[in-house]
């Protein structure tokens, strides 16, 4: 065969490959997906959270920790450094309060992502673990919450080569946690390329002072992670596979897949109701609108609830949906009493009535 034939075949193959990739990515990103508004009653904006509330976690007696101000490559950002807020859900004024960070801590580069709280059973100390991306690196900050002072004491910074693109964590000790990596590559340029490749190469890592290891693999984009109330199972959101994985936690902290629940949406963080075991998910409607932000055609929000996830027929329902004109890019949803809190990656946070 002549040189030109070979060249044309190569060009054809590359074109087919790019075309296939383009179509595949559009499918995974749910591009041009339309969802009708499904609003709840009495939603109020939470004050001070105009730069996002990417992750919210509620502990004990109605105390919510909120991570705000995330700067994620490709998403709209602000110049304001990241902050951690606390919200007392029993206070009818519902005013988030900023927690003071220690003077020694590099506040300027603080870029908080997923968070998790661990309460030490021996002395009821509250440890807050925060995924931090200073200069877009990945590390976990361990803080101790000082209730009287409304401040965070910095205990340590955890870095490890296996924790290269951490998205969310779930703490099982003051310095032990499960973490999701949402990319395979560590190199920034290759990370952008990964969005075109979109292969199930991301993983879940277990970190403890004694050992660090990969405990689960094969996720397109491992995002939120949480645990069942009985501590037997873990839940991982694979945002671009539009599903939630249920995994069994073994004695050695390895995770084995039990089942997968299809959610037909781009679900980010997972919160678990400690009484019912229901999963609450903050989800995106169209990923393209999140990464290619146009205020005239904003990214929407969707809150999904999964009941009876361990039964033969989990019930997946949509509790809230907005086309982006009220709430953009929801990433987390959690209930306490008759209230539903919804946080977003870079927009605001809502508190709605929910029965």
């Amino acid at each position: 065969m002549g040189k030109w034939t070979v060249l044309s075949v190569v060009v054809l193959l590359v074109a087919l490959l790019l075309g296939e990739r383009f179509t595949a990515v559009r499918r995974r990103f749910l591009v041009d997906r339309v969802v009708a508004n499904n609003h709840l009653q009495n939603c109020v904006e939470l004050k001070h959270l105009d730069h996002g509330a990417e992750d919210i976690t509620i502990v004990g007696d109605g105390l919510a920790f909120i991570s705000s101000g995330l700067k994620y490559p490709g998403l709209p950002t602000s110049d304001i450094p990241g902050k951690i807020f606390i919200l007392d859900l029993h206070d009818p004024r519902l005013k988030p309060v900023e927690l003071r960070l220690p003077r020694s801590f590099d506040v300027e580069s603080f870029n908080p992502h997923g968070i998790s709280v661990y309460i030490d059973p021996s002395d009821d100390s509250v440890y807050l673990l925060v995924v931090n991306h200073p200069q877009h690196k990945s590390q976990i900050e361990v803080f101790k919450y000082d209730e009287e002072d409304r401040s965070l004491l910095h205990i340590k910074t955890i870095q490890h080569e296996l924790l290269h693109s951490v998205n969310d964590i779930f703490a099982v000790g003051p310095e032990s946690f499960f973490a999701t990596n949402d990319h395979y590559f560590s190199n920034e340029l290759l990370k952008y390329l990964e969005f075109l490749l979109l292969q199930p190469w991301t993983n879940v890592v277990f970190y403890s002072p004694k050992e660090v290891k990969v405990v689960s693999e094969g996720y397109y984009f491992a995002n939120g992670i949480n645990m069942s109330p009985d501590k037997q199972h873990m839940y991982v959101a694979d945002i671009f596979d539009h599903n939630i994985h249920v995994l069994e936690r073994k004695e050695d902290n390895m995770l084995t897949r039990v089942k997968t629940v299809d959610v037909a949406s781009l679900c980010d963080n997972i919160e678990v109701d400690p009484e019912s075991g229901d999963l609450w998910l903050g989800c995106h409607i169209d990923a393209k609108k999140v990464f290619i932000f146009d205020p005239k055609d904003p990214p929407g929000s969707e809150v999904i609830r999964i009941q009876n996830i361990h039964s033969d027929q989990p019930v997946v329902t949509q509790v809230y949906a907005d086309d982006g004109h009220v709430l953009m890019g929801s990433s987390v949803a959690t209930v306490y009493g008759d209230k539903l809190l919804i946080g977003t990656v870079f927009h605001k946070a809502l508190c709605c009535d929910f029965k």
């Binding site: 969802v35 009708a36 508004n37 499904n38 609003h39 037909a264 999904i304 019930v315 329902t317 949509q318």
Partner: protein, 358 residues
């Protein structure tokens, strides 16, 4: 081996690969079109089941004075039906406190034993205040349109049966005159497998037909499956629901009854019939959140219902909102949502009808 044999093997391998890819794509297409993985949207309203309506109310239309007409008991091939009796028409006066639908008596030359009513439309003749009720009928699964005149509050007098080769798979109609209407054909092929292929291969072959005593012609094409059809309050625009393409198509209607395409509004669901609020112009849609659950009926995992409202449909940015969402426990397979002064009547293919308060 020789060059020819090698080339032949390569071609066969390529053909097998292409076929496998095609099958895979077809499977994905069905999954996507039927929205089979979609989560159930939940939105509760204060609703009550309408008495006497147990075998579906596929279409409902409400006149300005609160009189609602319901077509019930549809038997559609491929969809469930729990009735052994022929279909019936009902009327319900929303201004009366009692709220019980009354079966309409049908007088005239119409075979009631094979009556299988589908979409309906009402035309009010301003010259003599007559009310004409148009009903799509499928006796022995054929397609024809019956024209009735509504008399004495509980009677439909049959005037005429309309059949035409262009009206081969009529789903719904909208009446624009005493004997004039637009009709949607919801399939191109009568054969179900062939029709499924049109969905898989993205063939937009269904049409909207205009019927009048003088002429019958195709006025719009390019639908995957044209389902509900209705008209704007100012009578200028025709709305068509392309159920399998998950969108509402808008056409401008001119004096010669020609339709010019204006735009489409994506709705993200399989929307069946269209009702239009005559005061606000809002579009109300009865939709199926999950098409597969409807086709493969399983009482343990029933098809749900959802009602979507479109406000400002002609603006740059129509606003879609979910007005009702149910997992099938209260209402299965909703097909229509008709609003009237703060109330909403919901109908379904084969289940019940609801009266809800907005």
């Amino acid at each position: 081996m020789s060059n020819m044999a090698a080339v032949r093997k390569a071609l066969i391998a390529a053909a097998v690969a292409a076929f496998a890819a095609l099958l895979g794509r077809a499977f994905l297409q069905i999954k996507e079109i039927s929205l089979s993985s979609r989560e159930i949207p939940v939105k509760r309203l204060n609703c009550q089941h309408l008495k006497n309506i147990d075998y579906g109310a596929e279409d409902i239309t409400i006149l300005k004075d609160g009189l609602a007409f319901l077509s019930t008991g549809l038997k559609y091939p491929g969809l469930p039906s729990f009735s052994d009796e022929p279909g019936k028409m009902y009327v319900l006066d929303l201004l009366q406190p009692k709220m019980s639908p009354v079966e309409l008596q049908i007088k005239g030359q119409l075979d009631l034993k094979s009556f299988n009513p589908h979409g309906i439309s009402v035309y009010e003749d301003e010259t003599d205040d007559s009310i004409y009720v148009f009903v799509v009928n499928h006796p022995e699964h054929k397609s024809q349109v019956e024209i009735f005149r509504f008399e004495e509050e509980d009677t439909l007098v049959h005037l005429k049966t309309i059949t035409h080769s262009l009206l081969h798979s009529v789903n719904d109609i909208v009446a624009v005159g005493v004997e004039h209407f637009y009709a949607t054909n919801d399939r191109y092929f009568q054969h179900e497998a062939l029709q499924l292929l049109t969905f898989i291969f993205d063939l937009y072959w269904c049409e909207v037909v205009y019927y009048s005593p003088q002429e019958v012609r195709v006025v719009a094409g390019g639908f995957k499956s044209a389902n509900g059809i209705n008209i704007s309050p100012d009578r200028q625009f025709i709305y068509v629901s392309d159920i399998m393409d998950h969108e509402i198509d808008i056409f401008k209607r001119n004096e010669e009854e020609q339709l010019a395409y204006v735009k489409s509004v994506a709705v993200g669901s399989l929307c069946d019939n269209i009702e239009v609020d005559h005061r606000t112009g809002d579009i109300w849609l009865g939709c199926h959140p999950n098409g597969l659950k409807l086709l493969k009926f399983d009482p343990e995992d029933p098809p749900g219902s959802e009602v979507i409202r479109i406000k400002n449909i002609h603006s740059e940015r129509p606003i879609l909102s979910l007005e009702y969402g149910d997992d099938g426990r209260q209402l299965m397979a909703s097909t229509v949502a008709a609003p009237y002064e703060g109330k909403l009547l919901l109908g379904s293919v084969f289940h019940k009808a609801l009266h809800c308060v907005l």
